[in-house]
């Protein structure tokens, strides 16, 4: 043990016993630790409460975290990881990583999810090993389903003899990861600092290896708070990241032949692209084949204004297709089949003999309990590989197998079809344009009009118009959805994405459902406190509208009255004043606004605030969907 070592818990325990036994004697002098030091060195030492640990284990942990390049750690403060928090702030200078104060662990993780998708690298979060991870669990599940890396640190005191009585026992656990192990990629509970260094590097590498996902490292409190015993023996392994694997070359050639031979090929892309480069490859492939692309939206995969983008025509195109190329599609079965609601009757959407090629790593990361793997559907040509990494080889194989101009006759019709799809979307958006509450189409169009000259990111959206109408062309424009459809994602994810975009000069906006925001409004405080600029438009329809139909379906199924569906589904009486809620946390806000002619000016004022570097919120009382 180092000279400045001090066992604080032993001191407190000993001091309490001594105080009871010897009244009027200095408590510190009677502590076992103090007694030992006095006798070994023969001199009277200052009271042990003055002793320090100048180089705690948590300092080394910070060195390790810095070595990964993690820039932020989002957390609600907690005593089980207090030493690590203190080291991040004072030893690490609260920079790379910077401690971000969160109001809820669910927000910490959803922030990390949004950040990772916008930044292209993970953020850290810290939480108590018990209550903190319990709070975080739903958001971790979202990140897992969304295949997003999050590096989580759990505080814990594994050594029961070192725990303070009471709360610390409630906050400790034999196996912190047990709660999450069904939906994280990897975890470890290191028992030494060297163990921590190696497991941290392993965790980061596993989290960022495709398919990506959350990981958990327990930062044991005894190791973190105690002194480093022999730092010369410690080393931090080099961090090297995995290269995404390309699909088998023979299988890629076979896929190219099938696609070239097809009369009506269609491409469906979900979590296919990780960058603008990936989008560029997908455009090249689609153009080489003259094949329409359906961007399912797990990530931004395809430019919305490209004539081969046909995301709004999925059912028709899948129904006509003779060959379908799926690129990292989370729910393949659901693209070709459906089940009616509420009678659960099966219906096929595609031709019975459509040939399916699926380039995916989905089978390499699946577990049994949680059913995010979706219904089983055998592909005719399943290719295990990363979609983006495989695209260049597939493009080359397609070009090799194609005669120049072979598909030219398809292109003209596809251009017309794309135009018709856009016209239909615009016509649909125009209906109810002047309605009050404001139509979601108008709200969406008004927002786009004000951000279209900037580099923009719509981090979260509870409405779909942006995907049908906005001519998005850049990878950073959209970051996909929550993954697991767990409520409470939107506010944190938008703040996380805005944090990543702040440094890139990208303007972040979000259209946030009122119900979702009520799960985790504290994210607004985090944005205000850390000056994370973004515009949140509250799609305030004063209900969980999706649930209304579910209730009405059940009432009809049970042959009961239909006018009670508001019970348990609406958020009225009282109405929530989201502007006041935001203002109370230091966020500039306006609303509620019901007049559709007033939203443009309100959005403009809010965007001026955002461009000054602060968050802003506009509460728009709007149509259900």
């Amino acid at each position: 043990m180092a000279k400045d070592a001090f066992d604080r818990r032993a001191f407190l325990k000993g001091a309490a016993a001594s105080a009871a036994a010897v009244i009027g004697t200095q408590m510190a002098a009677n502590s076992p630790a103090q007694a030992a030091e006095t006798s070994s060195e023969g001199n009277e030492k200052p009271p042990s409460r003055d002793k320090i640990i100048s180089r705690p284990g948590s300092d080394f942990m910070v060195d390790v975290i810095k070595a990964t390049g993690i820039e932020y750690v989002a957390s609600n403060p907690g005593s089980s990881f207090r030493s690590l928090q203190e080291s991040i702030i004072n030893y690490g200078g609260n920079k790379k990583p910077e401690f971000l104060t969160c109001m809820h662990e669910e927000t910490s993780v959803s922030m990390a999810q949004g950040y990772a998708k916008a930044a292209g690298k993970p953020m850290g979060i810290m939480a108590h090993g018990t209550v903190g991870l319990q709070h975080a669990a739903m958001a971790v599940y979202n990140a897992w389903c969304d295949r997003v890396p999050v590096v989580m640190f759990a505080g814990n005191f594994l050594d029961a003899a070192k725990r303070r009585p009471g709360v610390e026992w409630y906050h400790c656990v034999q196996d912190p990861a047990a709660l999450l192990r069904d939906f994280i990629k990897w975890d470890d509970q290191p028992l030494s600092l060297q163990h921590f260094a190696e497991s941290m590097m392993r965790a980061y590498k596993i989290a960022t290896t495709v398919p990506m996902g959350p990981v958990l490292i327990t930062a044991d409190g005894v190791i973190a708070e105690g002194p480093i015993s022999d730092e010369k023996k410690l080393s931090i392994p080099k961090l090297t990241l995995s290269i995404p694997p390309q699909g088998d070359s023979g299988a890629v050639s076979e896929a190219a032949k099938m696609l070239v031979a097809a009369q009506n090929p269609v491409i469906l892309a979900d979590r296919a692209c990780r960058s603008q480069e990936g989008m560029k490859h997908l455009v090249e492939l689609a153009e080489a084949l003259s094949a329409p692309v359906i961007d399912i939206g797990g990530r931004m995969n395809f430019p919305m204004n490209h004539y081969l983008c046909r995301s709004g025509d999925r059912r028709a195109l899948v129904g006509q297709a003779d060959v379908a190329l799926l690129l990292e599609v989370a729910d393949p079965w659901g693209q070709f089949n459906t089940v009616s609601d509420p009678h659960h009757e099966y219906r096929r959407l595609a031709k019975p003999d459509v040939k399916v090629i699926h380039i995916s790593l989905g089978d390499t990361l699946t577990k049994s309990n949680y059913q995010d793997m979706q219904r089983f559907m055998p592909a005719d040509l399943p290719i295990t590989g990363d979609a983006q990494a495989t695209l260049p080889a597939l493009i080359e194989a397609v070009k090799k197998a194609t005669q120049r101009g072979a598909f030219a006759n398809r292109a003209a019709k596809l251009r017309e079809d794309h135009g018709r799809m856009k016209d239909r979307a615009r016509a649909a958006a125009s209906v109810g344009w002047d309605a009050s509450p404001c139509s979601t189409a108008r709200m969406s169009a008004q927002l786009y009009d004000l951000i279209k000259k900037d580099k923009w990111c719509l981090a979260v959206s509870s409405v779909q118009w942006n995907r049908n109408l906005w001519p998005a062309t850049e990878y950073h424009n959209f970051i996909g959805g929550s993954g697991g459809a767990g409520q409470g994602y939107g506010s944190g994810a938008a703040v996380g994405a805005a944090l990543a975009n702040r440094d890139k000069g990208i303007l972040t906006v979000s259209i946030e459902g009122d119900g979702d925001l009520m799960y985790a409004p504290g994210a607004l405080w985090t944005a205000a406190h850390h000056k994370i600029p973004f515009l949140m438009i509250v799609h305030n329809n004063r209900a969980y509208h999706q649930e209304v139909m579910h209730l009405q379906k059940m009432a009809a199924l049970h042959n009961r009255r239909m006018d009670t569906a508001a019970i348990g589904t609406t958020i009225e009486k009282p109405n929530v004043d989201f502007a006041k809620l935001a203002q109370s946390m230091g966020v500039w806000a306006e609303g509620p606004i019901s007049d559709p002619t007033a939203i443009g000016a309100a959005f403009s004022r809010a965007l001026a605030v955002v461009k000054r570097g602060e968050p802003a919120l506009v509460d728009v009382v709007s149509q259900g969907r």
């Binding site: 209906v431 109810g432 309605a435 209304v548 009255r561 149509q623």
Partner: protein, 116 residues
């Protein structure tokens, strides 16, 4: 096109078979019933429909009464049936009067915000 034609033919055929004599309706009462039964949840307060295909557009230019009644009482696809026991013929006629009263607004080509 042939599928669309067939679907339209089926709607007309089935609705003709189903259609009852239409009760006279009031658009004012219809609005109240439209809100009471929360039709707006999927179809919007002015029948504009929803953006995710969850509720088709009802207005302007609603379906003929027979097809409307058919779709409400014995719907195709995922919409729940609104049976007579719970939504009376009068209420349904009022709702129809309400959506029939909704006038068309500006066309998309005339809305600058939709032309980018």
């Amino acid at each position: 096109m042939s599928k669309l034609f067939f679907s339209a033919l089926m709607i007309v055929a089935v609705s003709t078979a189903y259609a009852q004599e239409k009760v006279s309706g009031s658009s004012e009462r219809g609005y109240q019933s439209y809100m009471k039964y929360m039709c707006y949840t999927c179809h919007g307060t002015v029948g504009q429909g929803a953006d995710r295909g969850t509720g088709p557009k009802l207005a302007p230019y609603p379906l003929p009464w027979g097809a409307f009644e058919q779709q409400t009482r014995l719907p195709r696809q995922d919409m729940p049936p609104y049976r007579k026991e719970f939504v009376s013929d009068q209420e349904l006629a009022d709702i129809y009067a309400y959506i029939s009263s909704l006038k068309p607004g500006s066309e998309a080509k005339d809305l600058p915000l939709l032309n980018f």
